[in-house]
Symmetry: C2
Subunit: 395 residues, 2 copies
C-alpha cells in the first residue's frame, strides 16, 4: 500500500460541487472512485464555463483521480448493472434531491439488502429529513439561510456572500468525514450505514462562536468588516500601496506592534493598556494606528512586522496566492496535464501524510472514458459480453 | 459498538479553534478524547469572553465530549508520563507552532519509536515545511493571504473577511479527514504516520473555481457581492421588509421566476433568453427584477417562490437560524447542560449516521477534571501511586 485509502472502491453518482468535492478528497488519498454519469449529458458541471478545448475548467479541477463510466439508471438493464456494481463497492455517494434514488428503486434501503456492508452517503441541500427536505438548494441559498452571510460584510454594510461556495464545500468535507467514520465502523463490524449530510446543517456547524456569543449575550452578531469580534487591534489597514492584515492577539504583541509602528508612547497610555480597553476605545485608537501604516508599502510593513514578530499578511488576490512561496513550497498549486485541454493549474492536496502522501494520478475523465475498462476489470466481462450489454443502449 | 469511532483514543494537545474543532468532530462520532492541558492555565480559549459562571462559552462549545487532564510537559516527570500515555493512544493531535514539540523532545520522530502505530496530527498556520513554517498565523492572516478575502465583499467594495473563522475551521476539518485516512492505513498495516495540515493550504484548497477561472481566463477574480460569478439571476434582492436570496440556476427556473414575479413578458425577450445573454445584459435586467421584488415582504415571496419551485431563502441572522424549523428538526442546535454554567445552546452534529449516530455525551470539562480518573483507568495507578506522582507537581 502506498496510499492511505487504497482498496476502498467508491461508486460516485455526484454532480457539480458538494459531492464531487467529497469524492475528490477521498480519491486524492487513494480511494478508487468510479464516477457514474448519465449517458450523453454527464455531470452538469461539464457544461460550466470557462472551457478549454471543450473541457470545463470547473469540472476538471474537481474530478481528477476519478474514472468515468456512463450508465442510464432509468432503464431496467441499467438498474440491474448498477445493482451488480453495488456488490463490488464499499461506498456509494450521491447528491441528488432526497427522493430521487427512491423513485429509481435504488435508495439505501433497497441497496443494503444487496450489500449489507455498503456505506451510502447522501449530500443534499437540507438533508433527508425535516420540513425542507424536498427543496432544492444552491450554495447561495444555504449561505443566506445558514447565518454566515449575516456576520460577513463591511461594518454597517450589506450582508455578504462568501466568494467561494462554502455551502457546498463544507458539506463535501463533512461527507468525506462521515464516509471515513462509517468505514471504520464497517471494518470493525461488517455493518454498513447511511451518511446523511446537509448543506444547511454544515453552515450551522461552522458558525462556531457566533452561536455561543449570541446564546450568552443575547446580542445578534452583525457584519463587522475585517475586525475580530473580540480582539483589538486585529484587522486590515490601508498601506501606501494596498492593504495589510495585522493580528496583535495579546498584550505582548500590542507592545511589539506599537514599537514597530513608531508609536511607542501608546504602550503606556492607560486608554489602551488592555484588550478590553482597546475595544472600548477603538474609535479613538484606530486612526492612531492607521496613520503611520499609511506611510509605507505593504511589503515594507511585512518586513518590519515579521522582524518584530507581529503576525501580519498581505491580502492576496488569486494570482498572488498562486505565486506565493509558501503555497508553492507546499505544492498547493499543481499543474495537471489533461490529454485534450493541456495543463491546468488547480489546488493541491491540503492533507499531507508522511507515509502515504496523496497524489494526483490522473486528470479528470472524459464522459464515459472508462466504461469498457470498468466492465472488463471489475465485472470481468469479455468484449463480446460488453458488446451485448451495449445493445441495451444503457451506456 | 454504538458509535462509529468507539475504541479510538486521542491524546489532544490542541488549543483555541483549529485543533479543538478537529477533535470535537471525532469525539462527537465516538472517539475517546483526552484533552491534555497545561496546569493552571489550560487551553487559551478558557479565557475567551463571554463567560457564564466563569466558564467561556467559546471554550464550552468546542470541547464537549472531551475529558481534561493537566500535565506539565516542561518537567521531566511530565514528559515521562506523556511518553507512557503515547503507548496507550491511537492518535495525538497538536496545533502548536512547528518546532514546539521538538524543543520538548516530544515530536513525531521521538514518539514513533515508542509507538510505531501512532498517528501524529499537527495543524498549524503555515505547515511543518516551507519558508513561512515558523510564523504565527491567526485566522484573519490566512484568510487574507489565502485569497478568499480577495473574492469576498460588495462589488467594487472592500475585500472582506468571512465572519466565521474559516481559516481555522477548514484546517480542523482537513485534520479530521487526515486522521481518519491515516487510521484506515494503520488498521490495514499497523503503521502510523504524521498528518500535517496548514491553515494557509486549507484556504487554497477551498478557492475551487476561482483558481480554475483565473488559470483559464487570466482575469483575476474580484469581490462581486452576492452575485454568482457565472449565473444570472442568482443573487440577493431587497424586499418590502428585508432581503431574499434567489437562485434561478437554469432556463426553466428563469421562466418560473418571471412568472412568479409577474413579469412573464421577459421570458420571450431575446435580450434575456439564455444565461449568457442574461449575464451580458445584467445591468439592464437587474432593475426589472428588483422593482417587483421590492413590493412584497420576504415571507410573501418565500411562499410564492416555493410554490413556483424557484430556489430561494431569507438571509437569516443567528437568532433566526437557531429558530429555523429545518435547523430544529435536524437537531442542529443542541442545548448542553454544564454543571456550573447551566444550559448552553451550541451547534449540533452535521454528520448524520443511521446506525451509529453521533452524540453529545458530556459537557466541556473543567481544567484537569479527569486527571485522577485517567491516571486510574488508563494507567491503572492506585490512589497511592497517584498521590506519589502528584508530589512531582506535574499536574
Amino acid at each position: 500500500m502506498t496510499l492511505a485509502l487504497e482498496g476502498i472502491r467508491i461508486l460516485d453518482l455526484t454532480r457539480v460541487l458538494a459531492g464531487p468535492y467529497a469524492t475528490m478528497i477521498l480519491a486524492d488519498l487513494g480511494a478508487e472512485v468510479i464516477k457514474l454519469e448519465m449517458p450523453g449529458h454527464g455531470d452538469d458541471a461539464r457544461a460550466f464555463p470557462p472551457h478549454v478545448a471543450g473541457e470545463s475548467a470547473y469540472f476538471m479541477s474537481l474530478n481528477r483521480n476519478k474514472r468515468s463510466m456512463t450508465l442510464n439508471l432509468k432503464q431496467e438493464a441499467g438498474k440491474q448493472l448498477f445493482r451488480d456494481l453495488i456488490k463490488k463497492v464499499d461506498v456509494v455517494v450521491e447528491n441528488f434531491r432526497p427522493g430521487t434514488m427512491k423513485r429509481l428503486g435504488l435508495d439505501y434501503d433497497s441497496l443494503k439488502t444487496i450489500n449489507p456492508g455498503l456505506i451510502y452517503a447522501a449530500a443534499s441541500g437540507f438533508g433527508q429529513t425535516g420540513p425542507y427536505r424536498q427543496r432544492a438548494a444552491y450554495d447561495a441559498i444555504v449561505q443566506a439561510m445558514g447565518g454566515v452571510m449575516s456576520i460577513t460584510g463591511p461594518a454597517g454594510g450589506p450582508t455578504t456572500r462568501i466568494g467561494t461556495s462554502m455551502g457546498d464545500i463544507t458539506a463535501g468535507m463533512f461527507t468525506a468525514i462521515g464516509i471515513l467514520a462509517a468505514l471504520r465502523y464497517r471494518d470493525q463490524t461488517g455493518q454498513g450505514q447511511m451518511v446523511d449530510v446537509s448543506m444547511l446543517d454544515s453552515q450551522v456547524a461552522i458558525l462556531e462562536n457566533a452561536i455561543a456569543r449570541y446564546a450568552v449575550t443575547g446580542t445578534i452578531p452583525e457584519p463587522i468588516g475585517n475586525r475580530h469580534p473580540s480582539i483589538v487591534p486585529f484587522e486590515s489597514f490601508a498601506t501606501a500601496d494596498s492593504q495589510i492584515m495585522i493580528a496583535a492577539g495579546n498584550d505582548v504583541l500590542w507592545t511589539k506592534l506599537c514599537e514597530a509602528l513608531g508609536i511607542e508612547d501608546l504602550v503606556d497610555n492607560p486608554l489602551y493598556e488592555s484588550n478590553e480597553l482597546r475595544i472600548d476605545n477603538y474609535v479613538k485608537l484606530r486612526p492612531l494606528l492607521a496613520a503611520p501604516i499609511l506611510t509605507k508599502t505593504t511589503k515594507e510593513w511585512q518586513t518590519i512586522l515579521d522582524n518584530a514578530g507581529v503576525p501580519n499578511g498581505p491580502i492576496n488576490n488569486v494570482a498572488q496566492v498562486m505565486q506565493d512561496p509558501q503555497v508553492q513550497a507546499r505544492e498547493m498549486i499543481i499543474p495537471v496535464n489533461h490529454p485534450s485541454a493541456g495543463i491546468l493549474n488547480m489546488p493541491g492536496i491540503p492533507i499531507k501524510l508522511s507515509e502515504t502522501p496523496g497524489s494526483i494520478r490522473q486528470p479528470a475523465p472524459l464522459l464515459g472514458q472508462h466504461t469498457d475498462e470498468i466492465l472488463a476489470n471489475i465485472f470481468g466481462y469479455s468484449p463480446e459480453e460488453i458488446g451485448a450489454l451495449k445493445a441495451n443502449d444503457i451506456f
